[in-house]
Amino acid sequence: MAFLKLTFSKNKRDKLAQVLWILNWVSVVTGILLFSMGLFLKVEINKRVELMAERDIQYVPNMLIAVGLIACAINFLGGKICYDCVDTTKFLRWKLILLPYIMCTFFFTFCVLVGALMCYSMHGELEESLNLGLTEAIRFYKDTDTPGRCFLKRTVDLLQIEFKCCGNTGYKDWFQIQWISNRYLDMSKKDVLDRLRSNVQGKYLMDGQQISNNSAHFNYEHQTEELNLWMKGCRQALLEYYTHIVQSIGLTVLITWLFELSVLTGVRYLQTSLENGLRQGDLNSESDGWLLENGPDNVPPKQIPEAS
């Protein structure tokens, strides 16, 4: 008993082959789309790699790029095969390759699903990576003379301008570190020295007083002032940005997976019905197509005891 058996006339088979040809080409286009989205994500992550700690998040864009390329190749081949299946002589050329091709496509479709799940699971690692990375970036903000860190100030400044955010969790992160390099502090001045000595680590911390000090500025109340500084933390801003990108990519991967699944099903039906037609000896007649030859409800026929 075959699993999900369907009967195909010659006409139906030809129509199926044509529809599959179109589906394959649509899948090639989605493969290209996936590839470019993977590339875009890779570029976006690399643009801000200075702000992310060492975590394994490069696997997501790499996987997307690989899936995109393989989708293009597999569906390109599939399109050619389906186009040729309408013609009997050409089909015979592909006969032997068809089953291995279907196995590859099945395995690949599974990979695409895994890829989609990976996209959604990236969130936790990304948050941790950003948290650590931004903490380090804020700490090394003042080190514009240390090789390897001299552009961190510029990167953080431009990040805060572009994403309209301040600090890691909020603006108070800047109160806890020294973000002015010692090169620009006049160590001969009394108040500078006082401030340095006022904390254990000898850091020049400030603005815990200036921003919270309502009398330092005219007509200013720091508790109600909302528009002066960006209130959002950069970690949240960046996380939202990347999550948005990855979610749209994940959706595209799911849609690609659906297309691949339908292509896989259609090609399997086509393959089985063409082979059955060949077995019957006449490809122009009706033949059965199925997904699995021995279905789950396959019961071996009862052995009829021979009448003695």
């Binding site: 100030k153 510029r154 431009l158 301008i161 390099s181 090169r183 620009y184 006049d186 005219f218 007509n219």
Partner: protein, 276 residues
């Protein structure tokens, strides 16, 4: 005596008609391109119209949009005619319209060249509008409570950040205007009162610039106040300090942006009229 006569047999005529059909369809695409370039230019002018005192001339983008649409229409019609001219029956239908159509095409080509020329010439107008507009923008920077001007501060700040520029000609333009609103000045403070009284117009002038003039690439945190006073900051000499704030003026920056846009649009709209 006909001007530049050429002999055509049937084969050559067919090939010519086919070639012209392709060129006409390419012209339709180019027409769409010019239309979208005109639209893009119009949108950019609108985006920066506050910097130009809402006074900018939309002649060039409007002409480009018109020319783009006309090019599309004329070329599509021409393509249809060329396609039909291969069949003598269909050609007879178009025969009376051909002469006026060719005259229209000539006129249209002239219009296209004129538009391309305008793209190059109107840059002077844009320059003058920018100069006047930026001067007023800087003057109205502090008026965040005046309806119609309350977003001027934000727009000017974003422009200075985006185009990496400061002031009209340079950062010293900010020294000549009061860019802090009186609402945030403590008039009971003696220092404030002295400064306001120290000039004829009673303005609170300082040698400071807004934060948007700051260059994030500077190795030291931004110095935006007391710019000309070396003793106000440790290890600071305003004569040699280059990286602290943007040294370019916004008029120059914006003009460079618009002029490169207009030059490329002018160049790309003059080439199709050549092959028409």
């Amino acid at each position: 005596m006909p001007f530049m006569p050429v002999k055509f047999n049937l084969q050559k005529r067919v090939k010519l008609a086919q070639g012209l059909w392709m060129i006409y369809w390419l012209s339709v695409i180019v027409g769409i391109l010019i239309f979208s370039l005109g639209l893009f230019f119009k949108v950019e002018l609108r985006k920066r119209s506050e910097m130009m005192d809402n006074n900018e001339s939309h002649l060039v983008p409007n002409l480009l949009i018109l020319v783009g649409l006309l090019a599309g229409g004329v070329s599509a019609f021409g393509g249809k005619v060329c396609h039909d001219s291969l069949d003598p029956v269909k050609f007879a239908k178009w025969k009376p319209m051909l002469k006026p159509y060719l005259l229209l095409c000539c006129g249209f080509n002239v219009l296209m060249l004129f538009t391309a020329l305008l793209c190059f010439l109107m840059q002077f107008a844009v320059y003058l509008t920018l100069a006047e507009g930026l001067k007023n923008s800087i003057k109205f920077y502090k008026d965040t409570d005046t309806p119609g001007r309350c977003f001027m501060k934000r727009t000017l700040d974003m422009t200075q950040i985006e185009f990496r520029c400061c002031g009209n000609n340079n950062f010293r333009d900010w020294f000549e205007v009061q860019w802090i609103s009186n609402r945030y000045l403590d008039m009971s403070n003696d220092l404030v009162k002295d400064r306001v009284l120290s000039n004829v117009e009673g303005k609170y002038l300082m040698d400071s610039v807004p934060f948007s003039c700051c260059n994030p690439g500077s190795p030291r945190p931004c110095i935006q106040h007391h710019l000309t006073n070396n003793t106000a900051h440790y290890d600071y000499d305003h004569r040699i300090e280059e990286l602290n704030i943007w040294s370019r003026g916004c008029r120059e920056a914006l003009f460079a942006y618009f002029s490169s846009m207009m030059n490329s649009i002018g160049a790309s709209s003059s080439s199709p009229s050549c092959w028409r």
